[in-house]
């Protein structure tokens, strides 16, 4: 069941002009994806894997759309090459809304393993990274989305278990 937070996230994407979103689901992102499916102004094309999704986003950007990707942090283990050689090399703006699994509140031990690498990978790739931990961190989202367009870079928005558990 989608929350007001899920709706606010999609509303912020709309407010920024995002009109193409690809996703690979995560339990924490289920509500956002549910709202996305109800939002006619955004073309939602689910991907099988996040690197494929970034390919779709690159094409959509060149076709005049404003893309974003919704994914889990474990996928950073999949997309390093695509971020470096496609999104960064060709200077394509790409907001990445990422569920930050494996942080405090996580029930699945294995998720902690990729959580340990998440910020290190983003840091190694010089990707602007924002960590949403408290519910009101969401207020930063419009500015972050605008920042991605301004600098034509991928940016990461990490949303952890505390953020989602506080979500109304």
């Amino acid at each position: 069941m989608a929350t007001a937070t899920d709706r606010q996230i999609i509303n912020d994407l709309l407010g920024n002009g995002v009109n193409f979103v690809t996703s690979v689901p995560c339990k924490q992102l289920a509500g956002v994806i549910e709202v996305l499916e109800e939002t006619d102004e955004i073309l939602h094309v689910p991907a099988n894997k996040e690197d494929e999704g970034m390919g779709l986003c690159a094409g959509a950007f060149m076709g005049g759309k404003r893309p974003a990707i919704i994914m889990q942090n474990t996928a950073l283990g999949v997309v390093v090459n695509t971020l470096a050689t496609l999104i960064q090399f060709y200077q394509i703006p790409l907001p990445m809304l990422i569920s930050y699994r494996g942080e405090v509140g996580e029930p699945v031990a294995c998720q902690v393993e990729m959580a340990l690498h998440t910020k290190a990978i983003l840091n190694q790739l010089n990707i602007p990274t924002y960590h949403f931990h408290r519910a009101d961190d969401l207020r930063e989202l419009p500015g972050i989305l605008q920042h991605a367009q301004m600098c034509a870079k991928p940016v990461a928005i990490l949303t952890d278990a505390s953020f989602w558990s506080a979500a109304q």
Partner: protein, 186 residues
């Protein structure tokens, strides 16, 4: 015929179309045969030509031809299901299937063995799949463009490359001149 021979026959059909071309030898050969601002050359990221081309087709109305290879499609095989389930009639995926990883020394791919990419595309739900011989590729592509139906073409050819230089063009320039062509009226 090898890939380079096919590309040569395609030039009259694709030179004024939006083309997204696969990494390595395919892009280098196309660049040397007929560089056009309407060509998007992939300089890296193996496997994503079909996805980039499809994202472009989903986002505007002009026809898009993605030129991919059998090895690259195998790398990103699941995208055939994305394509099948979100059909767009302005999209044509041309898989030049030479049964080998051409850019890395012609090592065999499984598409040159038991795996049929045409059958995979059909099983994924692509409704209009054409497998053709190398010499019939230009005609198949021309037919697909005039039919205005989403089509996957698998062109079976021999393994081999022509020695051409690496593309030296700046990636942002490749993208920006391509985007001007995408946005151009008429």
């Amino acid at each position: 015929m090898i890939r380079h021979d096919i590309l040569k026959t395609l030039i009259p059909v694709i030179s004024d179309q939006l083309v997204v071309c696969n990494i390595g030898a395919p892009s280098q050969e196309l660049f040397s045969l007929d560089d056009q601002p309407s060509n998007f050359y992939m300089l890296g990221t193996m496997g994503l030509a079909s996805s980039i081309g499809f994202g472009l087709a989903l986002s505007q109305d002009k026809p898009v031809v993605a030129i991919d290879g059998d090895g690259s499609v195998l790398t990103n095989l699941a995208t055939l299901s994305t394509i099948a389930n979100n059909p767009r009639d302005n999209f044509i995926l041309l898989i030049i299937d030479n049964g080998s990883y051409g850019s890395t020394g012609d090592q065999p791919t499984y598409a040159g063995g038991k795996t049929s990419l045409a059958a995979v595309a059909q099983a994924c739900g692509c409704e209009n799949v054409v497998e053709c011989a190398a010499e019939d590729t230009a005609e198949a592509l021309g037919n697909a463009l005039s039919a205005g139906r989403m089509t996957v073409i698998v062109s079976k050819c021999e393994s081999g490359n022509v020695k051409v230089p690496v593309i030296g063009m700046n990636p942002v320039m490749i993208r920006e001149r391509f985007m001007s062509e995408v946005a151009r009226q008429g």
